[in-house]
């Protein structure tokens, strides 16, 4: 993408070495890219094969007859639909809550004056240093105490609050010009109005980074949903897929189809939004 915006070098520079290096680059990148994609391609092939083909010692590179019914079996025989619904619901709730709470707090930490601001900010950010396992047992106790095991509430609760998101949004608000805000304040706009009508729209690029990182995390996370849900129907997809093999024994093509369907939504979404995702995930703070 950027390559096209780089101003073309003078013709004299375009020697044989440069043409040659492009051949090497295309060769390495296409072979490497194929290796990276191979597991996905192999998964699609296996998901459309019979169980006998999947388990044959000499691999079948293409099924003799395409077995679409493996995908139908995912819906008929597994708890896939309830799990998909749980995944969608928990992702929407967590992303929504993180955007709301982190922009509010990030804005206050960046732009408002109040007693204890520095300490509260320091305490919030210090959580970033702690691995999640150090919270997990106590979080489990709390959720269990509330009677939230095997519920959406239990899965989403800790993830509604994000120290990382607060840090991200605070940084974004810190780097915005003060003038617009001051003008609005002079006109008598309330802090809520200034925040909602002026600052939030300006923060949109950073909010999209927060949406991307939190939805990716929420969709793919395994450990927490696994410990707070025990019933197949209550689990989101990652926990459902991870515990699927023991339940389904060895119907491999159906397992392949189920895991394909589980990751497809976010893959498709992210390929469509790839520029934003890639820019958002490459930390902007790098030199």
């Amino acid at each position: 993408m950027t390559d096209r915006t780089v101003s073309p070098a003078p013709r004299a520079h375009r020697g044989s070495t440069r043409g040659g290096s492009h051949v090497v680059a295309h060769l390495v990148l296409s072979v490497g890219g194929f290796l990276m994609m191979f597991p996905f391609l192999w998964q699609i092939i296996m998901s459309l094969s019979t169980n006998a083909e999947v388990q044959s010692v000499v691999p079948h590179l293409w099924p003799a007859a395409i077995q679409w019914h493996n995908y139908a079996a995912v819906f008929d025989r597994l708890s896939f639909l309830p799990q998909l619904r749980t995944s969608v619901v928990i992702t929407l709730i967590r992303v929504g809550a993180q955007v709301l709470l982190c922009t509010l707090a990030g804005y206050a930490f960046a732009r408002m004056r109040f007693r204890g601001r520095g300490v509260l900010l320091g305490v919030t950010l210090s959580i970033l240093m702690v691995p999640s396992q150090a919270f997990l047992i106590s979080q489990y106790q709390i959720v269990q105490g509330l009677g939230w095991l095997d519920t959406v509430a239990g899965i989403v609760a800790p993830g509604l609050f994000s120290a990382f998101g607060t840090f991200l949004m605070r940084t974004a608000f810190l780097n915005m010009p003060l003038e617009l805000e001051e003008a609005a304040q002079l006109d008598g706009a309330s802090p809520v109005r200034v925040f909602w009508s002026i600052m939030l729209p300006l923060a949109r690029p950073t909010i999209s980074v927060l949406v991307i990182t939190s939805s990716l995390w929420s969709w793919n996370e395994l450990l927490w949903p696994l410990v707070v849900s025990t019933r197949q129907e209550a689990m989101p997809l990652p926990a459902g897929i991870a515990t699927l093999v023991s339940n389904l024994d060895t119907d491999y093509p159906v397992v392949m189809a189920a895991s394909m369907l589980a990751m497809a939504p976010i893959l498709i979404l992210f390929v469509l939004l790839q520029r934003r995702v890639i820019d958002g995930l490459a930390p902007s703070g790098l030199k």
Binding site: Q133, Q139, F164, N175, G285
Partner: protein, 320 residues
């Protein structure tokens, strides 16, 4: 916070951290005007942070000095969990496995530097297409890709052993042989984290002025020479960032191990990583006091590893 650990963490030397907000000092003309408003903005977040993060870390620390009965209730046992932990062979085995996993995944960093520099080639066609190919494994659900890799690694009919057999190598039962199992999981870890490294390093490469490469080329420097004398030295801050984030994420690996090996795997007791060890004790053996002590150990190990890297950073990272 693994996905959060996998997702970009803030840059350790992000300048915006130290840049204070303009006009926010005490005693400004608007002092006192904010009144109760700030609390309305921060309290929703802070209450959740206190309930679900601050209190839990204090409580987990307390739990680490207790033993839990089968039917609930816990008794104070002082340092007993910790003395048990430092003599538990599972601790050292899981640290060893975590280190093996981390080292193998870090082997991807040089590969990522090379791939990122190829993607950065001026006027390279299909660059954004290639970038997506390398990037997709990073965003794919770890437990779902684990299912495919189980098939690829399968000792009886997996395609990996088939390919190895064709070149005369008798492949092992990858996922059920102690020693091979963690290597198999680490190969998947490398595959899935490569995309993140490529993206971060690619962003770092864009900050290197192209004139440097052109000047070096005019002076007759070979592509390899340009790579080792310009690309790598100027990229060290990004490389450092990638290494830090990768190590922290590797030390917390759980999803891939859980999903590739499966809970009934015979090789599992010998292939546990630190976080798996924690999960096993806390939620399978239901020893929450002991697991709390393990969690504190994980905290300590990650803290020490990060500190060590920041120390070593001065030796090899170009900061100007």
């Amino acid at each position: 916070m693994w996905a959060q650990a996998r997702a970009p963490a803030p840059h350790p030397r992000n300048p915006s951290l130290t840049r204070g907000p303009r006009g926010c000092g005490a005693g400004g003309p608007q002092r006192g005007r904010d009144g109760a408003w700030p609390w309305l903005f921060v309290l929703p977040l802070l209450s959740g942070i206190v309930v679900f993060y601050l209190w839990p870390i204090v409580q987990t620390f307390y739990f680490s000095f207790t033993e839990w009965g089968v039917f609930g209730g816990s008794t104070w046992t002082g340092l007993q969990n910790y003395t048990r932990l430092i003599t538990d062979p599972d601790l050292y085995r899981s640290i060893g496995n975590t280190l093996i996993y981390t080292v193998i995944v870090l082997l991807g960093v040089p590969v990522a530097i090379y791939i990122a520099s190829l993607l950065n080639t001026p006027r390279l066609r299909f660059a954004s297409f290639y970038r997506v190919l390398f990037f997709l494994p990073y965003i794919a659900m770890p437990t779902a890709v684990a299912m495919v890799w189980r098939m690829i690694f399968n000792g009886d009919f997996g395609i990996l052993n088939y390919v190895l057999a064709r070149v005369g190598i008798d492949g092992p039962y990858w996922t059920s042989t102690p020693g091979f199992a963690i290597v198999a999981v680490a190969i998947v870890g490398l595959w899935s984290s490569l995309g993140f490294a490529i993206i971060v390093l690619g962003a770092g490469l864009k900050t290197i002025p192209p004139e440097l490469f052109e000047a070096a080329e005019l002076d007759g420097a070979s592509p390899w020479r340009r790579f080792t004398s310009i690309t790598v030295p100027l990229l060290t801050p990004s490389i450092f960032f990638v290494v830090i984030v990768t190590v922290i994420a590797c030390f917390q690996v759980f999803d891939l191990l859980y999903a590739i090996l499966g809970s009934t795997n015979v090789a599992l007791p010998k292939s546990m990583t630190l976080v798996y060890f924690f999960y096993q004790e806390g939620f399978v053996n239901n020893q929450k006091g002991y697991a709390s002590a393990i969690a504190m150990a994980i905290f300590l190990v990650i803290g020490l590893a990060t500190l060590a890297q920041f120390r070593l950073q001065k030796r090899w990272v170009n900061s100007d």
